[in-house]
Point group: C2
Chain length 309, copies 2
């Protein structure tokens, strides 16, 4: 079983609206609702790839109830979310059906009490016992200490469970120092962490800060990976157009599934890049176009970088 942690789960709402114009009124032609938050997106992609997943994190309120109902309808994902008193946040994506352009509104998330954070840590410790790997994903809701991911990384390492961290800002900076097996920043998160806008140099710097392997997602440019076994650049065979939300989460699912299947790094990275591209072609995060994924997987170019680069 792969464990995914989403401390700031969300009810992702997607509105189809033609030509959003500020300061006017719009009729929404179509409404989609999905369980959201990066770790739940990762869980849904892993389940679609056939991997049993347990999803934990916080959930609460009427929005949280919808998240749980939707998760119950997702085969392969076990709901181990911890109930809290505050309501799960919403995210609203306003998608223009013609251009695919997306305007995003993100609520801040509920205030987590010290007792709730403590209850989560107990659940997390128990779930780690049955986990082949764990992914710690996304932002921290208010009330959770900024060093939360560092603590969760150390707990996973102490339990002997490989841990991937995908977050940003100060929680990433502290989490990296706790020596996770993999971090997966995007270009902006990597630059913020290291101060460098040159991705290859920055991934090396992130390793020096504590991460054993660093896989940076660079949008249409694909991935760049710096690991103890080597360094690679990974590029999809063609550029895809659509909604990039969730592409990074699908890359995480590709890396984790490849890891538990004992694939070598180049095959893991090819899977991650193909899943990312196939996710851009769907309107919501946590889902991907399976035929595009299968077509791209064998066409992704994975190039090893010399260690002197």
């Amino acid at each position: 079983m792969i464990l995914t942690v989403t401390l700031n789960t969300a009810l992702d709402i997607t509105y189809r609206v033609r030509s959003l114009r500020p300061h006017t009124s719009h009729r929404v032609s179509e409404v989609l609702e999905r369980p959201g938050g990066k770790g739940l997106n990762v869980a849904r992609v892993l389940a679609a790839l056939g991997h049993p997943v347990t999803a934990t994190g916080f959930v609460g309120g009427a929005t949280g109830q919808v998240v749980r109902e939707r998760l119950a309808d997702t085969p392969g994902v076990r709901d181990a979310l911890v109930p809290v008193s505050g309501p799960t946040r919403r995210t609203v994506a306003i998608v223009d059906p013609l251009s695919g352009d997306t305007t995003q509104l993100n609520e801040p998330g509920p205030l987590i009490t010290p007792a709730e954070w403590s209850a989560f840590q107990g659940t997390y410790g128990e779930l780690l016992r049955g986990a082949a790997a764990v992914a710690l994903c996304g932002s921290l809701p208010p009330g959770v200490p900024v060093g939360a991911y560092a603590l969760l990384v150390r707990t996973a390492r102490a339990a002997g469970v490989p841990v991937l961290l995908d977050t940003s800002g100060e929680p990433l900076r502290r989490g990296v120092a706790a020596r996770p097996d993999v971090v997966k920043p995007n270009a902006a998160e990597l630059a913020e962490l290291t101060g460098s806008h040159e991705p290859l140099k920055a991934t090396q710097d992130a390793r020096r800060r504590g991460a054993q392997s660093v896989v940076a997602s660079l949008g249409p440019q694909g991935l760049i990976a710096t690991t103890p076994e080597g360094r690679w650049r990974v590029a999809p065979p063609r550029r895809v157009h659509g909604n990039p939300t969730g592409a990074g989460d699908s890359a995480v699912a590709g890396l984790l599934s490849g890891f538990v299947e004992h694939l070598p790094w180049p095959a893991r990275l090819a899977r991650a890049a193909a899943l990312s591209a196939a996710t851009v072609l769907t309107p919501v995060a946590g889902e991907f176009d399976r035929s595009v994924y299968e077509e791209l997987r064998d066409q992704v170019s994975v190039t090893e970088e010399s260690s002197a680069a």
Copy 2:
């Protein structure tokens, strides 16, 4: 007791967002949730004025549950909403805290089944027995027949209960023909009904189509009323700036409360205009600034028009 009908109830969500820019991502700094839909706004204002109100209409799903919880926290409003299988729609108002400019997104509402519509009519008939007046407000959700308001107007008239209709388009056109006591269109709705952009002429035309009295809300220009007892122009003493959502609903509450208190038309109209203006000053519909209301109420200018005009 005053009865308000909201067939397309809503969970009104207000987001404070500085400078909404299409095709970018935004953090929402503050989230407000309120029971919404025109009839529920009217009910909340009536209750705040001290009038016992019963609110009916349809409610369903997780959003509907939040609407009911919030309504239970509103003293003076009795919840007589009829449960349906589809979820109550959301409306999202994105308000810029500096300018007050509002961008509105409205979901379409749940599909009402014939059995649900039939169940509502039974409830409505029973509630009319204890009602001093009834307000029929807002859009129709999918599945409710376009002649629904005409039917509800006739039922109220047969029960001897004075009925106010506030809707638009074809439901308004058909509802007016059923001879409601009052219709309260805004300028656009009145023009669409009558084909005339001259409000005084258009209100007279709307009376010929069946409405006994017509009160048109003209935004910052105030109100214009054509009734069997006379015709009036009503103007607030000064222009107020803010969020106009809900101003029309507060005008309806002013008219209804004045009616059941047996106030003469000029006093009813002054109250409606003052409540409208005091609502523009609050960020959400269904609420008003009480001190502004009390200050404006005695300063509103009500001018009788000669019948030859």
